[in-house]
């Protein structure tokens, strides 16, 4: 493993933000808008409120157990057999999320910019680049994320700034859209949009000090959450509920919508460049984390050679769903609904068991 303890709070912060915040700019909003109409921007708030305590509890457990990452922690609390089983379930969750998400991203790229190219081609390029990036190791991923972060954020905020004029704030009313119950239940069901935060904990020991990781991860998750809310709010105020339901990729639609003065009217490719940076980085991080999980579960110390077979599997499995609609609205939605209760409850379960076994008293 190419890790010499150079990663600090900043890099962890950047990695987490890369992994989570881009949710603001993919097709997740349209998934929500189907159910909650113009109240959909409130769903992430509910989700975050539901899942963040579990995340904090998990971090707390990691802190108490010291020097263990997610999988090692689970194993040490639940014993070898059950621990391995749970770890494998988490790995499968992560793998499915990665697969479905990557298909989703590939479809976005295809639909918006390369409508005539075959999906498989774009898939190979996309995951290929992610693979070569991930091969460089977590440190380099950290450095690159930190260096790329300001540029990506500046581009996103430029977009917000350009679109400010087109926002109609009254469009958030009725504030709860299809109704409060819908938002609450959707928020809990889809709490797993923040599941990446849990996958990330496999890298708990990556930083120079564990405290740096904790700080970086917690701060970044809050900022990512705020960013997601801000973008969802923009989508609803720009598009209104009728059209936002029909828009698959609101981020790119906004990018196509805005113009920079009278001369530069089509600047979506500019934003697409930075969005691509973010997307590549997200999948580089994700792919690396998955290989790491696999390596930890099966005690493979040098897990980086696993990246190639895993990347290949991601492509093959990602191509399986018949079309992108099915991928997005059936598979991805179901996966989120299965993962949500799992990740909400798992930390509490671990905590109770650890408490019961008296392991927290040390």
């Amino acid at each position: 493993m190419q890790n010499q303890g150079f990663l600090q709070t900043k890099e962890i912060f950047a990695i987490v933000l890369m992994l989570v915040a881009i949710k603001a700019a993919d097709s997740t909003p349209s998934l929500f808008a189907q159910k909650a109409q113009n109240g959909f921007w409130l769903i992430p708030i509910v989700s975050f409120v539901v899942i963040f305590p579990s995340f904090l509890l998990m971090i707390y457990l990691l802190k108490r157990f010291r020097d263990k990452n997610l999988m090692e922690l689970i194993e040490s609390i639940l014993g070898k057999t059950i621990g391995k089983l749970i770890s494998i379930i988490i790995f499968l969750f992560a793998f499915s999320t990665l697969t479905l998400d990557s298909r989703n991203y590939v479809e976005q790229i295809k639909v918006l910019y390369f409508p005539e190219s075959p999906t498989i081609f774009i898939f190979f390029i996309f995951i290929g680049v992610s693979f070569f990036g991930a091969k460089k190791g977590i440190e380099v991923i950290g450095y690159t994320s930190w260096i790329a972060l300001p540029i990506i954020k500046i581009s996103f905020f430029t977009l917000i700034w350009l679109v400010l004029g087109s926002m109609v704030y009254e469009r958030i009313f009725p504030i709860f859209g299809s109704g409060l119950p819908v938002i609450l239940s959707e928020g809990v069901k889809k709490a797993a949009i923040f599941a990446e935060l849990f996958f990330l904990l496999i890298a708990y020991k990556a930083a120079k000090e564990e405290a740096m990781f904790r700080k970086g991860a917690v701060v970044a998750s809050i900022i990512a959450f705020l960013e997601i809310i801000a973008f969802y709010f923009i989508y609803i105020t720009v598009f209104d509920y009728n059209s936002v339901e029909k828009i698959a990729f609101p981020f790119h639609d906004i990018a196509q919508y805005v113009q920079f003065g009278q001369f530069f009217t089509n600047i979506e490719t500019l934003f697409m460049v930075f969005w691509l940076f973010a997307a590549y980085l997200k999948f580089i991080v994700f792919l690396y984390l998955i290989a790491w999980m696999f390596g930890t579960i099966f005690h493979i110390k040098n897990f980086e050679p696993l990246l190639l077979p895993l990347a290949y599997l991601v492509i093959i499995a990602g191509l399986l769903p018949f079309n992108s609609i099915y991928n997005e609205f059936v598979l991805r939605e179901n996966l989120l609904m299965i993962m949500s209760p799992f990740f909400i409850l798992l930390p509490f379960m671990l905590w109770f068991i650890a408490l019961w076994k008296g392991e927290l008293k040390r």
């Binding site: 440190e139 950290g142 690159t144 260096i147 790329a148 600047i267 490719t269 500019l270």
Partner: protein, 490 residues
Amino acid sequence: MRRSRMLKKESPNVSRHLNENVRTMKEQFSYGLNKDFSMRSLTIAFNQKQGRMFYYSSTVNGEQMNLHIIKPLLENEGKDITDIVSVNNIQALTDFETIKEYINSGKAVLFVDHDSQAYGMDIASFEHRNIFKAENENVIKGPQDAFTESLNANISLIRKQLHQSQLINEGIQVGERSKNEVNILYNKDLVNPDILENVRQRIKDINVDTVRNIELLEQYLEERPYSLIPTILYTEKPDKATSYLEDGFIILLMDTSAAALIVPVNFWCFFHTPEDRYLRFLYGNFSRAIRLLCFFLSSLISAIYVAVSNFHSEMIPPDLLLAITASRERVPFPLIFEVIIMEVAFELIREAGVRIPNPLGPTIGIVGALILGQAAVEANIISPIIVIIAAVSGLSSFALSEININFTIRISRFIFIFAAGFFGMLSLVGAFLLFVMYTASIKSFGVPYFSPMSPHFLSPNDTIFRKVIRREWLRPNYLKPKDLVKKRHR
């Protein structure tokens, strides 16, 4: 290693009999065949003994020899050879291996009858250029002198700027057949001992016949010879070298090169010129901003043009798009081919421009500008806009004057053009990201390439921009210097 041991075994010690020594010397240096290898016989005045002096007439200073060695030996009285001879460095030698080294490095060696040691006397004077203006690293404001092919002159240029007893100049022999000396300069109170030891060790580990100069040494020292990214900084300006010494870096010099090597380095070192610091805060940073822009333009503009006009033409404003299309109407080639023609043409001019003899210099300008610019457009081989693109990317590459990074960019430019031609922005962004990640993974003597930006280190934050000079009170901590804090100006 084995060879060096064999060489050592053959070398006997100095004998008490002069004739024996003379025979050995004649044999070793092929006296008679080797025209400039000279022997001078003399009778030493104070003890009336026979003496023989050996030297290369081409490498010693004849005047000095007459004045400080021969004349005193023939005339002066005294107790000992060392008292009589008035050269500033005289050394007693006992084995022929060292004697050989002495003579090869331009010194003279004196044998005396009935004396079991020889005397090595430093009157070496290798020919070298005078000190001229820097040819390749020009500055408008700042010292103009440049290193020359003489170690002593170079060190004197550095010591002139840095009046410190802590500045150490250490010599290490390198090469098995021709033993050349590499001089390591560093500040004893600042340098990180681990890095210094690493540098020393790497120089000692070089196991080749000869390392003639610093340019070759650079290639023996680096870790990744196939890498696109340079890990050693090369400079011909003593003031640049000195500014690095002040921060705890290590400088390598050799007698045969008009340049110094600086280790370890990071990405930013290749962007900076000494002038950034000589210019006032805003001016210096302005020129850095331009240089950063040049970096992106030079490496990416052709690629972006290919990507945008092939895959994302909706991005170009309609009027401009029409203009581009109209100018391309009569050009038969695909766009990427056009770009590559022009980039290759520019590289041709450039390579030819470096090699061309001086009197022919102006010709190339005419040929380049006329044939490759105007005529190619009129012949409908390329469109005018490509000329602009290639000119911008070529011109920008000159702003990055550091020769290593210059090549990095010129080569990576072609990679990016091909990437852009493959799948537009998708593959171009991917290629650029991988390029950045590859660069981030490089380490120069243990220092991560993008430090101190990421990974973060305490430092004067002299990365893309620099601070006001009086606010720079830290040394770069990625070197782990012994003393991090500079004296602060208040």
